[in-house]
Symmetry: C2
Subunit: 328 residues, 2 copies
């Protein structure tokens, strides 16, 4: 920066101003400085800048996983929103473990991010304390927790599970099953199941028919095997709600293998509206989640808070949408 200043015949602070608040510098001085920046190929050091200004212009995000197309679009939406507003994304993946989430939070905080985005779920007490001590905006994305830590951007898994089950009821189905299964420590499947069970009870449709075998790692395989188990146990089942589209894919394959007609004999509903679910693919009836929008909203919440926007919203419910296709 000194080199640039010398070449432009100004002081370092003026160079800094040209880069950060150009409108405060006289146009011709500005041009001279910018020319010097170009000529020297000067790249400012944000590490030093952050230390000095006490704002890092980075936001950390900690997600369970990027694979399986679950959080990828959320992270992408977040990254883009941040970028548009001059911020950067620091990413960590916790692999569905609350312990490693705690670890990641600690290292993320040591970068002094201006905000933190977490996938909602269990956080250890220590993690919560660290977050509180850090005093930065925190957004939980995906499921909106009953008692958010700070802010939240997402939807209600319970409501979504309830809605899709109600949809199946409305289309005339009466013996509705559920297949899914949750990762340990991941309560999403559980919440969707809860919505399903509630809807059944509300419609007076008897006991839930649920299979949630978590011994199988692949979601698709789990869908296939669990459908088999479910149909063996309750052969008259006329609809199933699958905890994710991947599970639904496995179920659809198994149904075809067994010669069960979909949707005539069995309606299949998924969750997530993954790429393969569309009309030109599986034609799967499913629940569409605003993946990208949740990330973008999280970014906005953090940046608005940072700017000190008054009377701020803390919870953004982006809802969900039932997409009817051929399978139900």
């Amino acid at each position: 920066m000194q080199d640039v200043a010398r070449l432009a015949g100004v002081s370092t602070i003026t160079v800094s101003r040209v880069l950060r608040q150009p409108e405060k510098v006289k146009p011709e001085t500005r041009d001279r400085v910018q020319a010097a920046v170009q000529a020297l190929g000067y790249v400012p050091d944000l590490i030093a800048g952050s230390l000095s200004s006490r704002e890092s212009r980075q936001v950390a995000a900690i997600v369970s996983t990027l694979a399986g197309s679950i959080f990828a679009s959320t992270v992408e939406g977040l990254a883009q929103t941040l970028r548009e507003q001059g911020h950067q994304l620091l990413l960590g993946t916790s692999e569905y473990s609350a312990a490693s989430e705690e670890q990641l939070i600690a290292t993320a905080l040591s970068r002094r991010p201006d905000g933190l985005v977490l996938t909602s779920g269990d956080h250890t007490p220590r993690a919560r304390r660290m977050l509180a001590d850090a005093g930065i905006p925190v957004v939980e994305v995906w499921d909106i927790p009953e008692a958010p830590f700070d802010m939240a951007a997402g939807f209600s898994n319970v409501e979504a599970g309830r809605a899709i089950t109600q949809f199946l009821v409305e289309t005339g189905r009466r013996r509705i099953g559920f297949i899914g299964g949750q990762h340990e420590g991941d309560q999403r499947g559980r919440l969707r199941h809860q919505g399903y069970a509630t809807a059944l009870k509300e419609a007076g449709l008897g006991e839930p028919r649920s299979i949630a075998d978590s011994t199988i790692v692949s979601m698709v395989e789990r869908g296939a095997r669990n459908l088999a188990m479910l149909m063996d146990r309750w052969p008259d089942t006329d609809a199933i709600f699958c905890a994710s589209d991947s599970v639904a894919l496995g179920a659809l394959s198994e149904a075809r293998r067994r010669g069960i007609a979909v949707p005539e004999r069995l309606a299949v509903a998924g969750f997530g509206d993954f790429e393969f679910a569309g009309d030109f693919g599986l034609g799967l009836t499913t629940v569409r989640i605003p993946g990208r929008a949740m990330g973008a909203a999280a970014g906005r919440l953090i940046l608005d808070r940072k700017r000190g926007a008054p009377g701020m919203v803390k919870i953004v419910d982006l809802g969900f949408e039932i997409v009817r296709r051929g399978s139900a």
Copy 2:
């Protein structure tokens, strides 16, 4: 840090040592310092640390997109490798534009990362100059470029396209088509097509039959529509190689709609081995790419170089694998 030092009755530099090189501090002093750290909930400031030590312990990655399950696993593999070795990941998404890649490189470099991971492809001249000036390890992932900028971890799209086409030939197919289409600025589809064309020529099978309509945004829809176009134009086609599994999914759906028996009448091969391609899903014959491994390898290349490992490998070819399933 001063508070911790005072509480432990040592100087700040000793606190720093306890955190960074514990073995250089006498065990009892170390315990005292660690107790103080705990008691005060002290979280070191890596921004200051980075400025002082001139190493940031972060690695930046710039990928075109996270959606579509293409790069997500690579990023995840990278994040994990870095984490295991005490480094963090700074992520940017360029949305398939070389111009915004350039922009992202500039902002990434201003964080003074210890290394940079890029998806291979076109880089602007300015981008290349910035990278050269930065003097940090750079790894290109996915396709191994003919002239890598610095290091590379990936596989050959051309070879993979050639191999899967050869596989189709070996299984008795003679009139093999290609459907795909590339994003502008993304040469992956083009390279795969090149391998396909080479294999055809080597087998003496006449001219390529390719449809690559890029007007359609969704890959799945593109697969469906392009298969339709291809079969209309060359009705006797007995196999197709799709530039990605998503395209193959669309093609499979369209084939079913038209009553074309797969694989009897038409063999379908995809690319990528996405989640839905497996035996419990589509049962798609495809090319498996070492997504996670490429990320992990990229991380290792950077960290090894940082450690100054001598006689280093610069190119890691992780190959690919043809997975035969029911569709071909």
